[in-house]
């Protein structure tokens, strides 16, 4: 035994030396420089992407880093790789390295000014990267929107399942309530149709009223959550799972039976209100608010309820209040994500909010990691990109993705990045060189 433990630190694999090299070169680059590098690389792609891709023998610039090409026409894999390296990897690395020291000073200056300002600058840069990247094709914009919306949905489920430790299956129900509420409201207000009559407000008002529509649909979803929250006072675990599952089925079945809302055919014709900036803004707001919620003192009571409800009660935590507020809070955000989703797809029908949706959202939460805002973001982004990248495999996609999730569950049972706090300050602070001795 002793020999093993002594020899452990000396063992050096190739990736250790690679990681050291990486630290040597890039560990002192702040987030600011990475974002600027990303922005420059997508601008580069915007201008020379298509000709360069044609030069490499691809019909057009690869829409999703070449994943889609890799599976459809494997012969183009080398050129897709080359494209990625020349358009994305090299510019980002070079630019980030070049402005690393300057941006460290800028980041420090911003942080000294005010943390809000610094965060806003980073968010604006991130948005610029996404906007320019998405400008090249509508498909990219759609993937971006769906991914951002999935982040909201995943975060809100993680609040219940990860932070409060209930196994809730009610998320599709909440999302459905939000989606339908927002659809109905916006159709009543802005679309002239025979279903609800016409109020026909001018379309120029729509972007201003849309936030209120979303908030209202979130609230409606939260009211629906009362059906799950109240029984959760008396029971937990499997029985709550069933109650929440029954809730999902009830909502789905109700929507199928309400002919006013189109019945099983669903609703279509929502105005195109979920543009990329709107979705992006809502996602950032949701991350901000949910992160504040889970790191607040009140948020910590959720963890107490998860780890021992009786003990929490004994420590004078009002567990009922915690459960109630958490369920309503999570349902609110699920409803908002549903409202956004309805306006991205511009079509909702009840059958899209069933077990498949549940498996999808649960998959994202557990893929990314429980009890972690970063984990949820990683899970939502990872699953969405994976699912888009594997699209050419058609049906076999749904064999490969579950296998990956099973493997993750076996080797990391709580998900990839579980139990980690999301610290904005840490993310955007200026970085110092990570030396081998330091």
């Amino acid at each position: 035994m002793a020999a093993v433990s002594e020899s452990l630190p000396e063992q050096k694999r190739w990736y250790h030396s690679l990681a050291e090299k990486w630290d040597d070169w890039f560990s002192d680059i702040p987030m600011l420089a990475w974002l600027v590098g990303g922005l420059l690389s997508v601008i580069l792609e915007y201008f020379v992407g298509s000709p360069f891709a044609r030069m490499l023998g691809m019909p057009k610039a690869p829409v999703l880093f070449g994943f889609d090409i890799a599976l459809k026409t494997p012969i183009l894999i080398p050129s897709a790789l080359l494209y990625d390296i020349i358009i994305y990897v090299l510019p980002i690395l070079i630019v980030a390295r070049a402005i690393g020291n300057v941006s460290n000073r800028i980041a420090q200056w911003l942080m000294d000014k005010s943390i809000v300002l610094a965060t806003l600058v980073h968010i604006v840069l991130l948005y610029a990267v996404l906007q320019v990247w998405g400008d090249l094709s509508d498909y990219r914009v759609l993937v971006l929107k769906l991914t951002l919306i999935a982040i909201i949905g995943t975060l809100s489920l993680n609040v219940i399942n990860g932070y409060m430790g209930e196994f809730s299956c009610s998320q599709p129900g909440f999302i459905a309530l939000g989606a339908y509420a927002a659809s109905v409201l916006s159709i009543i207000l802005f679309v002239n149709n025979d279903l609800f009559g016409s109020l026909n407000l001018p379309a120029s008002l729509a972007p201003f009223l849309f936030p209120f529509i979303l908030i209202l649909s979130g609230l409606i979803s939260a009211v629906g959550a009362l059906l799950v929250a109240v029984p959760s006072f008396r029971t937990r675990g499997d029985y709550l799972a069933i109650i929440s599952l029954a809730f999902t089925f009830i909502v789905k079945s109700l929507l199928e039976n309400l002919e006013v809302f189109g019945g099983p055919r669903g609703l279509s014709g929502q105005p195109d209100l979920s543009s990329l900036p709107v979705v992006f803004a809502w996602t950032m707001i949701s991350i901000w608010i949910i992160n504040n919620y889970v790191t607040s003192t009140f948020g910590k009571t959720m963890n107490a309820v998860r780890d021992g409800e009786m003990a929490a009660n004994a420590m004078s935590i009002d567990t009922r209040k915690t459960k109630m507020v958490t369920f309503l809070f999570a349902a609110f955000w699920a409803g908002v994500s549903g409202g956004l989703l309805a306006h991205v797809l511009r079509y909702v029908n009840p059958s899209s909010f069933g077990i498949q949706k549940l498996a999808e959202v649960l998959g994202m939460v557990y893929f990314g990691g429980l009890n972690s805002v970063v984990g949820s973001i990683v899970g939502a982004v990872g699953m969405n990109i994976l699912s888009e990248a594997l699209r050419p495999l058609e049906i076999y996609k749904w064999i490969i993705i579950p296998i990956m999730i099973i493997l993750i569950m076996i080797y990391r049972p709580t998900g990839l990045i579980a139990f980690r706090e999301f610290n904005v300050k840490n993310l955007i602070r200026p970085k110092q060189k990570k030396g081998p001795e330091a």
Binding site: T235, L245, F247, A359
Partner: protein
């Protein structure tokens, strides 16, 4: 009255599918304290295995290699597919549940869900989206009693499922393996000290549950001879609800709740428009669980589970 009796008979048939599937959930819960979320898809797999076995036997009969009467084919089909499906169930346990035995229970639930998706998609990928027609093994005969019509398949289905439940009860109560299962449900930690292999008992429990689900699948195929890859979803989740409603880990409770769910669904469908079936059935379940949160025979937070 005749109307009522007619629906009782329909409900008995419908409920026996739920009861058979719910037993699988409940047994696995009793032994391992977790739900096998792939169970609905094991039901589907069992039905498909039954379809292939029955078609194979019928083909053998038709070509004259091995001529068997249809009732013998039915019995052989049920037995062989129960055996084969129990192997599938054991494989699921080995792949998705054994590596996660010490992990949080929700993680095991996720792997179960994912195995279910793999089974569905695998079926879809291999056989295509075309629905399969389950072969007619017994000619349907209808008997009339005072305006109540009973088919021989209905009688057969109810009798076979009740027989299987009694056999399961015998197995759990009277055999050594059943005793080991009950012991494991009683105390997970002591059982290995008594020289009983946890892995063996867990695999056996999955196998038993899957065998019952396979029988349910074949009976379902006889009553409603259309199989599609997603048939397990609706049935599986409803049977899961029945298992919870009966009280987790309680075999008697699962069987009774399965029949109860069948009754609720059939009577709702006859009284109200049938599209309201799920809505009302789940609302009733929600109300029952709100007022009796631990099911009929379940015990709150207790280590002792009835099996």
């Amino acid at each position: 009255m005749a109307f009522f009796l007619q629906n009782v008979i329909n409900a008995l048939q419908w409920g026996s599918f739920y009861a058979l599937i719910a037993l699988g959930y409940s047994m696995v819960y009793g032994v391992l304290m977790l739900f096998n979320f792939a169970h609905g898809d094991i039901f589907m797999t069992g039905a498909y295995i039954g379809f292939f076995v029955a078609t194979g036997f019928l083909g053998l009969s038709a070509s004259g290699i091995l001529v068997l009467p249809n009732w013998l084919i039915l019995i052989l089909t049920i037995l062989i597919s129960m055996f084969l499906t129990s192997l599938v169930g054991m494989a699921v346990e080995r792949i998705a549940y054994r590596p996660l035995r010490n992990a949080p229970r929700a993680s095991a639930a996720i792997t179960g869900l994912m195995v279910g998706i793999i089974l569905e998609t695998g079926n879809l990928a291999i056989l295509g989206a075309r629905r399969q027609k389950f072969p007619d093994l017994i000619a349907s005969q209808t008997y009339q009693f005072n305006g109540v019509s009973i088919t021989n398949t209905k009688i057969m289905i109810v009798l076979v499922s009740i027989g299987l439940m009694l056999a399961l009860n015998f197995f759990v109560r009277r055999t050594k393996w059943g005793m080991a299962m009950r012991a494991m449900a009683y105390d997970f930690l002591i059982v290995p000290l008594m020289g009983v292999s946890i892995n063996f008992i867990a695999a056996m429990t999955f196998g038993l549950g899957s065998a019952l689900a396979s029988a349910a699948g074949i009976l379902f195929g006889i009553a409603y001879p259309v199989l599609d890859p997603y048939m397990g979803i609706i049935f599986g989740w409803k049977a899961f609800v029945a298992a919870i409603l009966g009280g987790r880990g309680s075999i008697l409770g699962a069987a009774l709740a399965g029949f109860l769910l069948g009754f609720i669904e059939i009577f709702v469908a006859t009284i109200f428009p049938s599209t309201l079936r799920d809505l009302i059935a789940y609302s009733i379940i929600l109300i029952i669980l709100t007022f009796r949160p631990h099911g009929f025979f379940g015990e709150p937070y207790s280590a002792q589970l009835r099996l």
